[in-house]
Amino acid sequence: MRTGMMGVTALRSHMNLAASRPSTNRGRRPLLVAAGFLCLGVSAADAGQQGQHLEKHFAVNTRPVVVIHNVANGRIEVKSWKNAEVDVVASQTSNKIGFDMEQAGDRIDVTATILDAGAQPRELEASMQLTVPEETELQLKTETGLIYVEQVMGDMTLESVAGDVHLKEVSGYIIVRTTEGSLVCTQCAGKLDFKSISGGAQVLQPALTNVSLFTTAGNILFDGDFVRTGLYTMKSGKGLVEVRFSGNDSFDLKAQTATGTVDNRAAAYLKPDSHGVKHLMSKYTHGLFGSVGQGLAKVELSSYSGTIRILKRD
């Protein structure tokens, strides 16, 4: 462990690319940077240039955990490969951003930090491209850039303030938190938990068994099949909640709104609760209960003042 930590220290120093970074250890920097080069085999030219990119490979065993914290503006892109290795390519537009990367066993931490608080937004762009093993856990946090994850299996927590989150063919327990950014989740599997203030969520062609979507002002679209025994909760304070189901689906539906409207365009498919349970709507809300097919999955839709739309896909 101690040997590993020494390596981490050298690595940290190596990855602090910007020469202007304030540091109380400035005197030791040349030595540590040199040690970093020796340990990691990265060319000095890469690190010496500002506004360039650097690439780093981390050998891992099984199911690594990758943690990224990007306080700069920029995109985080994660794709997978068959190799037992995490490849990180980071690029920056100025020397006002520094990258810290460290490996502790199968955990890889990558942090982009702002070195000059007075820098202009255009000087604070830092993008990261990662290639990870197919089975990888992710914890990604950014402020304004897009988070894009494709073909990764593993639990993931993705946080963004204003950046969107796009997921394609990912599976696991997926937690997404945004302030304003929207989620597009295409062909996702497993469990999905999304919360946002003004960001929307689109869930397309999913194989998700448990879905919880909540946004105060964004719109929600669920277009896909409901897995039998699955639980699906979708709530929007002021936005549109739209569900498009297929004729083969089987689910119990509860849709309610306080001051909004329920637009039921699937009345022909929606029957009284198939389990003989008589539901009573509160006199303060309006909406509908019903079942499609045998009612095997459970779908709860609600909106405070927005519209809930239910329709069958063509």
Partner: protein, 226 residues
């Protein structure tokens, strides 16, 4: 001297230096040797622990908001004029000592139980929300949460005035805070008109949670910038 005497001496005077009689007993007693060795190890490890860091104010804000939103505390509006803030400061002070934190949570739960049992609001209590002048404050859901969060929002705005940021992320925070505030006002109005509307209450509760989280994130960012 016997083993229990050694324990008493250590308890009263600490490990070093042990009195002559205690040292003589320890030298011949393996049980006491183990006991003293264990204590010395504990002391050594404890000395290596980092000093406690006082959590920032936002922690208390989020904690109180969460406790109230989950119904663990249901605080009626205080009888008058600033007593609430002193109560809250006292609460915070209690939590600053980790040793008392558990006991305080227990007391809070007991307090909530008593409040549930009594459930008799004081009609003379002052109103707590300027948005709903016709509604007694005890009827306003999450009144205390609202008050604390609004105070924190004012503090945050003052911090931002000192160094207004033009960064996109800060603009996004401000816009979304406004959205949450507007939504809270909407829900509060609805709940005041239809107090039994559970759906509106649920959305109001969620909105307060989001506001607490948003303020927390904004304070974190302010803290990291300045």
């Amino acid at each position: 001297m016997q083993c229990k005497d050694v324990e008493f001496v250590v308890e009263q005077e600490g490990l070093a230096p042990l009195p002559e009689a205690a040292r003589a007993h320890v030298a011949t007693c393996s049980h006491c040797q183990d006991y003293v060795a264990d204590l010395a190890t504990i002391v050594a490890v404890a000395n290596e622990l980092p000093a406690e860091v006082e959590p920032p104010a936002r922690v208390w804000v989020s904690l109180q908001a969460q406790l109230e939103l989950e119904g663990i505390i249901k605080t009626p509006v205080a009888s008058a004029h600033g007593e609430r803030s002193s109560w809250w400061l006292g609460f915070s002070d209690l939590f600053r000592s980790r040793a008392l934190a558990t006991a305080t949570v227990g007391l809070l739960i007991a307090f909530a139980g008593v409040m549930q049992w009594q459930k008799q609001p004081d009609p003379g209590l002052p109103r707590d929300s300027s948005r709903l002048p016709s509604v007694p404050s005890w009827q306003i859901p999450f009144a205390q949460t609202a008050k604390v969060l609004n105070e924190q929002e004012v503090d945050l705005r003052n911090m931002q005035l000192a160094g207004a940021s033009t960064a996109p992320v800060d603009a996004s925070f401000r816009q979304n805070l406004q959205q949450v505030d507007d939504f809270i006002a909407d829900c509060e109005h609805r709940v005041s008109v239809a107090p039994q509307d559970e759906l509106a209450r649920e959305y109001l509760s969620n909105a307060y949670q989001q506001k607490a989280e948003l303020l927390s994130a904004m304070m974190d960012r302010e803290g990291s910038l300045h």
